[in-house]
Symmetry: C2
């Protein structure tokens, strides 16, 4: 940390400049930047009172709301590292992430209390902190008296702001360390691309535990742009935010946009809507065309947890003319395509690699995974794509075998490991089946052990205890044996290709009440 690396903490600086500007609109109430800043100081004071030391990991399991926003700003201000947890995870998954992060506190709200308790039962040494009020065995957040003058109003750009878990092709999720500098440069890239206007308001209707949601909050503080926050995605509410509350910028995944348009009928959107960032997977050309016809300025974009959100983005008016493109790299980021260890030619598909000050310094406590992903300053994303001659990025295929369902990422290996944990399952493979609404849904292929039997219902119940709902296979297909390559590896590809011959997938789970939104590999 050198002097050139230290800047004022963004929210406190913003509150100094624009104290009376609205920072947050939520459920009919408004918080100014001065009020949000005071709330963040309050968080820092409470963490100090709870004895949270510098660099302590504070896990957060809660739905979007003012408390969440205050914690996003207040935890790093206290010198602690924020670990946002996906509220859709199963207790086992939460427990695993708490252990991996070495969390000292788990802050949770009423809606996640049951999951929190189930997870905490597996991880001794983590202090439960309930946002909702007094609860046996937990610290009541509202009852903690904040220590005065705790927290800091400057930040070192190279220190870690948050650890955000992201899965990989193999094994358990990894915690990407996102520094203050990563967040700053990401925000700078977005604002250099979009410009910030005095009447801007950013609608955040996607989960705040993903980098895409968190990045909206940080961009807001840096540029002084109000956030309209929805507790969950609701298409009618999102449309009202645009029509009545003046949302000018909206972050969505394709499923969300689809539902918004359907809810609205054919009514055009107002001219005040100037940018709809469409991430979380490829932008379906038909959807782009329908949306643009209704006056929705679609900006397809590509981003990752490891890059603190957006790294490429289309400009307004470009989407229709370049179907499938995800834009040019944003101001601080460089993108190259690597093929057989060499830079690919324009138009040639290879692995997408990203460099820049917005790229994570690595994964928490994973030197090997870090070394594998980050080589000479380039993050090797595992995603396949190409750059055209003009420099537009096309994402040909997300990380091998990755299933993207309503913007959430599902890694087959994780679901397969959960299936294989059942004593009756000999072999398991999970692939993505096309789905009109979610884009893709997971389908499981299994072979049972000789002499063992397990019903679909039993197996799904077994999985639900271990996995988030959106990861639960929509269908279970049974085989005597799964197809394998010469090395004995199961050939997911051949299963995927055979999917068309199977009967149509039936939802094993109804649509989530929260609405899916941009996942780890997302684009806003």
């Amino acid at each position: 940390m050198t002097a050139a690396n230290v800047v004022p903490e963004w929210l406190s600086r913003r509150a100094q400049h624009s104290p009376q500007t609205p920072a947050l609109l939520f459920g009919g109430s408004t918080w100014t930047f001065a009020e949000l800043d005071a709330a963040a100081w309050n968080v820092a004071g409470k963490l100090a009172a709870l004895g949270a030391r510098d660099g302590a990991r504070i896990a957060l399991l809660a739905s979007a709301g003012p408390d969440y926003v205050a914690l996003v700003h207040g935890v790093p201000r206290a010198g602690c590292i924020l670990v946002p947890l996906n509220t859709r995870l199963a207790p086992d998954e939460i427990a695993w992430q708490l252990k991996d992060a070495g969390a000292s506190l788990l802050v949770y709200d009423a809606g996640s209390a049951e999951k929190a308790r189930a997870a905490l039962a597996q991880v001794p040494g983590v202090t439960p902190v309930s946002l909702a009020g007094p609860e046996p065995g937990a610290v009541a957040w509202t009852g903690v008296s904040p220590e005065p003058l705790a927290g800091r109003d400057t930040i070192a750009l190279d220190s870690v702001h948050s650890i955000i878990y992201t899965s990989g092709t193999t094994g358990r999720p990894k915690g990407a360390m996102i520094t203050f500098g990563n967040h700053f440069w990401s925000a700078a890239g977005t604002w250099m691309h979009l410009g910030a206007r005095p009447d801007d308001r950013w609608l955040a209707a996607m989960p705040l535990f993903h980098v895409g949601g968190m990045a909206i909050l940080i961009r807001s503080a840096i540029a002084g742009v109000p956030v309209i926050l929805h507790p969950r995605f609701d298409p009618a509410a999102a449309n009202r935010a645009i029509d009545e509350d003046g949302a000018t910028i909206v972050s969505v995944v394709a499923t969300m946009l689809d539902r918004m348009i359907a809810e609205r009928g054919d009514e055009p959107y107002p001219g005040t809507l100037r940018a709809v960032l469409l991430g979380g997977g490829p932008a379906p050309p038909a959807l782009v065309a329908r949306a643009e016809a209704l006056g929705v300025p679609i900006l397809p974009t590509y981003g990752l947890t490891e890059t603190a959100s957006q790294v490429a983005c289309m400009a307004p008016g470009e989407a229709l003319g370049k179907p499938g493109a995800a834009g040019k790299p944003l101001f601080p980021a460089r993108i190259r395509i690597v093929r057989d260890g060499r830079p690919a030619a324009p138009g040639e598909i290879g692995e997408i690699a990203v460099a820049g000050p917005n790229v994570t310094p690595g994964y928490w406590n994973r030197p090997e995974a870090t070394a594998a992903a980050l080589r000479d300053g380039w993050l090797h994303t595992g995603d396949l794509g190409y750059l055209d001659a003009e420099g537009y990025l096309y994402v040909a295929d997300r990380r091998e075998d990755l299933i993207i369902s309503g913007g959430e990422n599902i890694y087959p290996a994780e679901v397969e490991a959960a299936l294989a944990a059942h004593p009756a399952v000999a072999e398991a493979a999970v692939v993505g089946a096309p789905d009109d609404h979610w884009g893709q849904v997971p389908v499981a292929y299994i072979a049972t052990r000789p002499g063992c039997a397990v019903s679909d219902e039993e197996l799904l119940a077994f999985l639900r205890r271990r996995l988030a709902g959106y990861k639960i296979p929509r269908r279970i297909v049974r085989r005597e044996e799964l197809p394998k390559g010469p090395s004995g590896k199961i050939l997911r590809r051949s299963l995927r290709e055979g999917l068309a011959d199977e009967p149509a997938a039936q939802p094993a789970e109804g649509p989530s009440s929260e609405g899916r939104a941009a996942g780890e590999r997302e684009q806003v």
Copy 2:
């Protein structure tokens, strides 16, 4: 240099995103970002052809125009360091800066050719490069064939972009090293403060050799905002740029604004004009009131060469209510007031200190001056001021004894040393006299040696060979002896206080044809 410190070179990135957006409007012609980018590659190729090595200092003595802009971007792109020289300097001053910087090339235009030749005669080893065309003994810039593929499209934020000379209270000017990161963070601070809008155009009518002018060019490339460039300040042309060419942001010093308003009569300015950054010294309240009455949104601001331009700035609408304030610190900068080595209380006057990633790492080849100015990451500016309880900066007094004349800084010590070099002068002191038009003008007090005589005309001619025109005293007052303190130091303060009793100052020089504009200690 780490990977997190490397970003795309801003103009090449901008040209990739907004190739057809106008970058530069000058004399009825327009250059797009793609054209300006090509011009900068051309500069880099020519420098490579001339054998300029990495880190070579390339001095530039020219008036504002497209060549200048291409060099501002092309020299650093070639890996060289740009050393912009004040075209108003005397040949002796230019020679001194060339020597101090260890310049390998001096690039000059027709208007500065005579001065350049006179300076080069004193500094062997500097290659003269003429922008105007073939000239005996000089390389003709137009005749150099650029080396293909020379230059870089990425930059390390901690490497030096430019060396900009700034004077001090004692001795010779010092070259402040401004890194790419200093420029970036300064630009980020400005845009976070003003926001960037699609219709923005920034009028640059101030010298490009000062940091205030250069910063406009860099902000423009970073945000994709067109610059309307004037070769020199002309009040009618500046008004036309606002009325007819759509200038939305304008950088001025008080003298410029005063002349613009006078030229216009009482006609209000159009609503498209959204920010007039007023730097180069305190904002006279009467001028602010007159300007605001005509619809000019005045934003008083404070900045320094060492901070790569602006560090504090008022918000629109604030200037009238807080006369004398220079605003709150911009996003990346921290400001504190130091008094007797301790932070001052709100309202208490002390030395203004600045920290942040926009602060210079130091002065070129001046470790002692660097150590004196930069302590624990804080730049001690020498300026006096205070912060009020709300965090607004008030600049009570620029650097001790500094004279600001039409936005140019005059350091008495430098003029006094030139006076003392005349054999007839025994003692000399220079102070600032109030002036309705320039704000201040320099006045010299001298005592001649017994038995020696020198006329005003002789002495002024002697000075003109050594000093820039704006530094030449407007009047010479003769004394038997100058007032001194107990230690024998001349008391400039008592001379300044006695000025009111002297007959009114008569200009020794007419107003500069270039119009004065924001100097080293400037604010835009």
